[in-house]
């Protein structure tokens, strides 16, 4: 033992005058660190109630509850997370996982009450002192619990795609599809937005499980056109996909397509195993488009005999005659249609109601009718000179190409319009070797066409002139040509709101000559086959039917659907109309068999 060791303990006195580390509560509050994981903050206006926080919470500390302020709507369940601080472990996985980015944590960590049941609150809805606290934990940039970027889709390069009518989109390979399917967070917010309410998370899961037959079965529950929709669906689902808020939405459409592409047509019957009985009822369907055939499919499954009357030589309606094969190859459309037909659907081609058979005859012969005649009449611009023979309709050009006829567009084409028909007419013209200018009266952002279609048409060399208003068609020196006079437009905000309106600038007019002008500014219904008496009974507004809850009309046994009866005018809405009409028709035909407690037909 040495002296130094003996004295060493007394060294402690040196530190007696240092500042203590401890603090005195509540006099000296100690705030948490800037990124502290304290109490939850939810920006409830940004929250979409997807419930992913609830799902990831390993402690079962989060409930999704109804709150007064929010109602369910497309893209928002209206539910909000409620936290049980008797269970929370402040791991913040809920924050990391929140696709909306509405959830984070404050750096507050003291909450004192004598009643332990109080530690239970709906963040962002009930008042808390920390809701507006700018500090606290949030997901760091560059850190994700799911991949935010979509797996890119391979497509034909534009210089190749423009050479033929081959399908542009390659479709996912299996590894790509598995990666993309993996990104889904399975919240199911998309299901409400899908017009057909397809079981999206479930069929995406079937991809992850590599059970594509299950995927096909799931899709046919709500949609007998999966090969078609997997290619050309307007995919409203993707617009509300929560993953799209801070990243890129799941490629739901391409995944749907992937499933169908894995199944051979000859295996459909075995996989779907659809039963078709015989109810003794006969249903007539007018129009073999997606609406009519969707109705036919579900009606056959209910056991009803189905006869479809189709004015054209082939089934498919706008899908066949309006959508070019580079977007929807015939073989894939036929894959859908052939299966429906295989269930015993009788299609009478080249049969126009009102001309070949009177509508009243159908009313007499069948137990129920479903009208889905679509929009087949091109809208007119109503400008001078429009009747010039070199002014073609977009629909006609597309129908000609679909039927193997040459629409004769020439070498230099102007397309008027900004919808999908305009884009397709333009791209078809490119494929026929023409130089194409698209004239559109508003901005690209206002175009009703699919963003991808606009982008692809540009890539394929279509020249888009925006804010260009056609004012007159003028005969050119050669009868093979035609001139168009158009004026530039300024976009002016309407004081009453809504999208800005184009205002023609009369001092900035242009005249240009083309081999043809393709007018594609929209289309309307053709209801000439209905007599005035019948029209009067079928509530018609702005040229469209206004059906009731089950697609029914005030005329007993007549149901309507598709473009001619809805505002959205897309394939998936028509498919849903057909499905729902089948439900309505079945309820109408079997009133006693109703097991549902919901609203009655008629």
């Amino acid at each position: 033992m040495n002296l130094k060791d003996l004295l060493s303990p007394f060294y402690v006195w040196q530190r007696a005058f240092e500042k203590p580390y401890t603090s005195i509560r509540p006099i000296q509050e100690r705030p948490g660190a800037a990124a502290y994981r304290g109490f939850h903050i939810n920006i409830s206006e940004e929250c979409i109630g997807c419930g992913t926080c609830h799902k990831i919470c390993q402690n079962d500390a989060i409930d999704m509850v109804r709150v007064e302020t929010y109602e369910g709507r497309s893209g928002d369940s209206g539910l909000r997370p409620r936290f049980d601080y008797g269970r929370c472990c402040w791991c913040a996985l809920c924050v990391d996982m929140c696709p909306a980015g509405s959830l984070r944590m404050s750096n507050e960590y003291t909450w004192i009450t004598s009643d332990p049941t109080e530690f239970h609150f709906t963040a962002g809805v009930e008042h808390t002192t920390w809701q507006d606290n700018p500090l606290g934990y949030h997901r760091a940039e560059g850190y994700h619990l799911y991949p935010p970027k979509r797996i890119e889709m391979e497509m034909l390069p534009p210089e190749v795609s423009v050479q033929s009518f081959d399908e542009v989109v390659a479709g996912y390979s299996e590894p790509q599809a598995l990666l993309e399917a993996d990104r889904c967070i399975e919240c199911g917010i998309c299901v409400a937005t899908c017009p057909a309410h397809m079981d999206v998370p479930d069929y995406i899961r079937s991809i992850r499980d590599r059970d594509y037959e299950k995927g096909l079965q799931l899709m046919y529950r709500t949609n007998p056109f999966p090969a078609t929709c997997g290619r050309i669906c307007t995919r409203r689902c993707e617009s509300v996909c929560p993953v799209g808020i801070q990243g890129e939405a799941i490629a739901i459409r391409w995944l749907k397509r992937f499933i169908v592409d894995q199944i051979q047509p000859q295996d459909y019957a075995r996989i779907l195993a659809d039963q078709t009985g015989n109810s003794g009822h006969r249903v007539a369907i007018i129009g073999a488009g997606p609406g009519g055939l969707s109705a036919a499919y579900y009606l056959r499954k209910q056991g009803h005999a189905v006869t479809v009357f189709e004015a054209q030589a082939s089934a498919g309606g706008m899908l066949r005659y309006g959508v070019p094969s580079y977007r929807l190859p015939d073989a894939d459309l036929d894959k859908d249609i052939n299966y429906i037909v295989s269930l015993g659907v009788d299609i009478r081609y080249n049969t126009r109601i009102g001309k070949d058979i009177r509508f009243e005859q159908l009313l007499q012969d069948f137990d129920a009718l479903f009208l889905s005649t679509g929009l087949s009449v091109p809208s007119s611009m109503r400008i001078h000179g429009e009747e010039h023979p070199r002014v073609l309709s977009g629909l006609q050009v597309l129908a000609d190409v679909a039927s193997g006829r040459d629409p004769g567009v020439g070498q230099k084409v102007a397309v008027i319009g900004g919808g999908n028909v305009a884009m397709d007419a333009a791209r078809v013209s490119r494929r026929l070797g023409a130089e194409v200018t698209i004239l559109y009266r508003r901005r690209i952002a206002d175009m009703p066409a699919d963003t991808e279609e606009i982008h692809e048409s540009q890539e394929e060399g279509c020249h888009i002139v925006t804010q260009a208003i056609p004012v007159e068609i003028i005969a050119a020196s050669s009868p093979q040509q035609v001139s168009i006079k158009w004026g530039e437009a300024e976009m002016v905000q309407d004081p009453k709101g809504g999208r800005p309106r184009p205002v023609l600038q009369e001092d900035r007019m242009h005249v240009e000559t083309y081999d043809c002008i393709i007018s594609a500014i929209g289309q309307g219904s053709d209801l000439e086959f209905l007599s005035k008496e019948i029209q009067d009974q079928l509530a018609i507004e702005w040229g469209k039917f206004a059906p009731g809850e089950y697609q029914h009309t005030s005329l007993q046994k007549v149901f309507v659907g598709g473009d001619v009866a809805n505002r959205t005018a897309d394939a998936i809405s028509a498919i849903e109309d057909g499905h729902h009409a089948a439900r309505g028709i079945d309820r109408f035909l079997n009133p006693d068999a109703r097991t549902h407690t919901d609203q009655e037909v008629n």
Partner: protein, 148 residues
């Protein structure tokens, strides 16, 4: 026509005639759903008339200085006939063209009279018609040109 009251009476009469025109067309309309639409047009004209009656009674003031947006849609469209088989698009064209003609009429008249109350009234009426034109042109822009 040289007094303010005469001018207003004329304008009120014009609105009534327009309302009668649409009501008559509605009675004959063949296309499904057009009857209701044309009756709506007639009601719209009736409301124009009521507004002018209020001006005449001194309950409401014209606003000749007001800026009204001119979409210039009807200016370049073809004339269409008001047949019983009229479509919605054509009905709107008819309406737009009628409002445009009235606007032109009052504008021309205003240009021919000296500065003063009468000129202001005519200019005010022209602005009223411009607003009616904008109403129908907006409707055309929203419905007919919706996908365009």
């Amino acid at each position: 026509m040289n007094s303010v009251d005469e001018i207003l009476d004329y304008a009120i009469d014009q609105e009534q005639q327009a309302a009668d025109f649409y009501a008559d067309l509605a009675g004959r309309a063949e296309k499904a759903g057009m009857k209701e639409i044309l009756l709506d047009f007639a009601a719209e004209e009736q409301s124009h008339k009521q507004r002018l009656l209020a001006v005449k009674a001194g309950d409401h003031k014209l606003t000749p200085e007001q800026q009204v947006l001119d979409l210039k849609i009807s200016d370049y469209l073809v004339e269409v006939g008001a047949s019983a088989n009229i479509s919605y698009q054509d009905a709107l064209i008819v309406a737009m063209k009628r409002e445009r003609a009235a606007f032109q009429l009052y504008s021309d008249m205003a240009a021919k009279v000296p500065e003063g109350h009468l000129k202001e009234v005519l200019q005010g009426l022209a602005k009223e018609e411009a607003k009616h034109k904008l109403f129908f042109e907006s409707e055309y822009d929203d419905r007919v040109l919706r996908d365009n």
